[in-house]
Symmetry: C2
Subunit: 460 residues, 2 copies
């Protein structure tokens, strides 16, 4: 039995412990956007530090103005190459709680459809992803003693809120984080059997806009026909963001967006939409033109309405003209757009559409630009080989509609050319939604994949 085979066998043997560890990690309510989850964030970071210390890493909880990161490194070089492994331990809010069939922070195992599924917020995005890497380190350490590379681990607590403290951390830990290759362990597979590496990520920023009418709440009968209704104003503005085909109709929004290279477009058009959409209906969504769905998801920007609230939200009737109404939006950007420019275009658009007497209040700052990584890197080739060896199907180089701010920072600030974004999330894991889930077989093969990637890259 080769060393690699011995480590993989150790992974398989260790599965009950790996699942138990993931379940413990999923009990922390580490929702980065909700102030009352601060204790869950802190407890989660401390527990992860202990796990890494136990593996012989030098681990610390690095404080920021927001939520802390867990930083760790192997005590001795262990190889010629320094590799960074990034994951995030924060999660999206679990609301609406009543839509879950089991409590979101009490992981529930269900045997269904031939799978052992774990239901919890963060089960897929992204606690299983970082845990797969930690469990791969554990198997390596048990069988081989050392990793074949110097590993630096970064576990962030603010990914789901746009990583506001990450730029500071990259500046403060410049030496530690400078690396030959960075593995970003927070991405998805193509299908449940075909692995993928994501080479394009979208940019992202959030914006909250509140329309204030000149009056406070008013009686709808007395003033409905003469006074401004801010819900109507907001609805009008939101409805005019897109044209009838679902394209953004705000002037200047697509400025700087370059056409996709013809070869890439052709390659993406050959992919089967059904394989990646995983049962999600696109009925009534934006129209696909010649470009097809993957160009829309991976390479065309979008403005998405995340939420709206104003006036009476129930339970009873209230015959009121509300004094204000609020919308929350996320902006997904592509190469050629910057958060600053698009935010300013959006705010001008809202202001230009306000009736006399209405006032718009904006909240939102910062954001992340899109990234394209070098698809011809030898590290990508090595990782792709390792993934294919584990899964038995060729690794797809693909885009993503998601955003991982650290990639842009590593490339721009630390000149890390080779960022390898991969992971084992599937489109039907219900990430960012109720009843998020993962399955034990993907956890096992994910850990084995990281064992193989470390082995392949360690040889470079």
């Amino acid at each position: 039995m080769s060393r690699l085979e011995a480590i993989l066998a150790k992974v398989d043997a260790n599965m009950p412990t790996s699942i138990a560890g993931l379940k413990h990690l999923l009990t922390f309510p580490s929702v980065s956007s909700q102030p009352d989850c601060k204790a869950g964030i802190i407890a989660c970071a401390k527990w992860l530090q202990t796990q890494l210390d136990d593996l012989g890493f030098n681990a610390e909880v690095a404080e920021t103005e927001g939520h802390p990161l867990v930083l760790a490194r192997t005590p001795s070089p262990g190889g010629a190459l320094r590799a960074l492994f990034y994951g995030h331990y924060d999660v999206q809010p679990a609301e609406p709680i009543e839509a879950w069939h089991s409590p979101p922070f009490q992981p529930m195992i269900r045997e269904e459809e031939g799978l052992t599924r774990i239901y919890a917020r963060g089960a897929s995005d992204s606690k299983s992803q970082l845990w797969s890497v930690i469990e791969a380190f554990r198997a390596w350490k048990f069988v081989a003693g050392d990793l074949p590379l110097e590993a630096v681990v970064v576990l962030e607590g603010e990914e789901e809120i746009g990583s506001p403290s990450l730029a500071q951390i990259v500046e403060r830990y410049r030496d530690l984080l400078s690396c030959d290759v960075a593995f970003i362990c927070d991405s998805d597979m193509w299908t449940s059997t075909r692995p993928a590496i994501t080479t394009r990520l979208k940019g992202l920023f959030h914006e909250k806009v509140t329309i204030h009418a000149p009056n406070g709440d008013l009686h709808s009968g007395h003033f409905g026909n003469v006074a401004m209704n801010p819900v109507r104003v907001l609805a009008g503005i939101l409805a005019s963001i897109h044209d009838e085909r679902g394209q953004v109709a705000i002037e200047g929004f697509y400025e700087g967006v370059r056409p996709l290279p013809a070869a890439l477009r052709e390659q993406w058009q050959s992919l089967d939409p059904a394989e990646a959409l995983a049962g999600v209906s696109t009925e009534g969504g934006p129209e696909w033109d010649a470009c097809g769905p993957f160009e829309l998801i991976w390479a065309r920007p979008s403005i998405d309405l995340n939420g709206i609230v104003g006036g009476n939200t129930g339970p009873g009737e209230r015959s009121v003209l509300p004094g204000s109404a609020t919308a929350r939006l996320s902006f997904r950007l592509v190469d050629g757009q910057s958060p600053e420019q698009v935010r300013s275009i959006f705010r001008r658009f809202v202001e230009a559409n306000l009736p006399q007497g209405a006032r718009a209040e904006f909240e939102g700052q910062g954001g992340t630009s899109a990234v394209l990584v070098n698809e011809n890197s030898p590290y990508i080739a090595a990782a792709a080989r390792a993934l294919e060896a584990e899964w038995g199907e060729p690794t797809l180089l693909k885009g993503s509609g998601g955003t991982i701010p650290i990639v842009e920072l590593l490339m721009r600030e630390l000149a890390v050319v080779d960022c390898i974004v991969t992971g084992f999330i599937l489109a039907d894991d219900a990430i960012h939604a109720p009843n998020e889930r993962y399955d034990a077989n993907r956890l096992r093969k994910g850990i084995r994949s990281w064992v193989r990637i470390i082995d392949e890259v360690g040889k470079l």
Copy 2:
């Protein structure tokens, strides 16, 4: 001193007790639309029953499938004429609670702007109104022993939710409620010095519409450019209800609405908008055409967005495509429109504007039609004389944008021709809004007004 003067002097002398009684009445959280206020509703009805019993009425709490009414009558005829006095003890929800400067069900007295103001939910709409009538009865009883008419009192607990049980009650108590004249004590003055009788009331129904997308909540990055966003669908539908000038653009909505008689239009155009709008800005509201604001408020129908909710409502960011979004609307109708017809036109409009794959769910039933009362009635003339005597300015016969379902029922079911809708609410009382208020001087003059109206009508 005449008998009338003696009764009026008794009202003045009794003011500290009258204010204390109103304050007690305002402590009951009798919000008819909120299930957890049921206890407040019951307690309020029982307390009012006791108050009327103490005045020598035969009072009962009449149960319904919803909230009870308080019904009472004078034990002996007391005069040739039977007069019904209607008020309602239920109130609108107090939300948003945080916008109140004192708790909405802990009445707070403030001396400000030369007035003694009472702040509480229901202070103006409508507990002060029914209390003014009860206090007028009390002064009459103290000085004269009997009223100069047979009085029937109806205090409703479901006015703010569209009076769903009232039709049953009118049927069940047909004999008791049949009367020569009905006083509807739930309306407003023209200005703080000029009394008014409302001869036109709008109809009203509520509708809740939820747009369901074909999917549940989705990740906004992965699916924003390809899947339906129900907030966008709802915003589009809401934005297309009105045209650019603020008129309803739904085909058939204005069908049956008759033009205002030229003489009435001319009279209304001579009124000063500033006097009735009481500081409410009409900036950015629907455009006034030649008809002027009072025709819009009193004689043109409206569709009003009362509230909207969907997806992330905070506190943190959530990068989600919501699975559904909900709007609440109130429809204010005029003579010639029926709730059934307009509701069906609205639902067809929503269905016709749904994209493929979206589903609309509607909640809402019943409603009230508009009413026009006979302006040439001798009872109106008598009440107008009494009001002018108290306030020193001529009584204005006007319309209202509000709705009081009992008027339509009395006219249609019991053929009560003379319904006199009056009261002492002012446009700046913040009814249906935070920091609702009333003032002690209006309470005093309101009680005195009812003393005089009873006197004048008793002579007929």
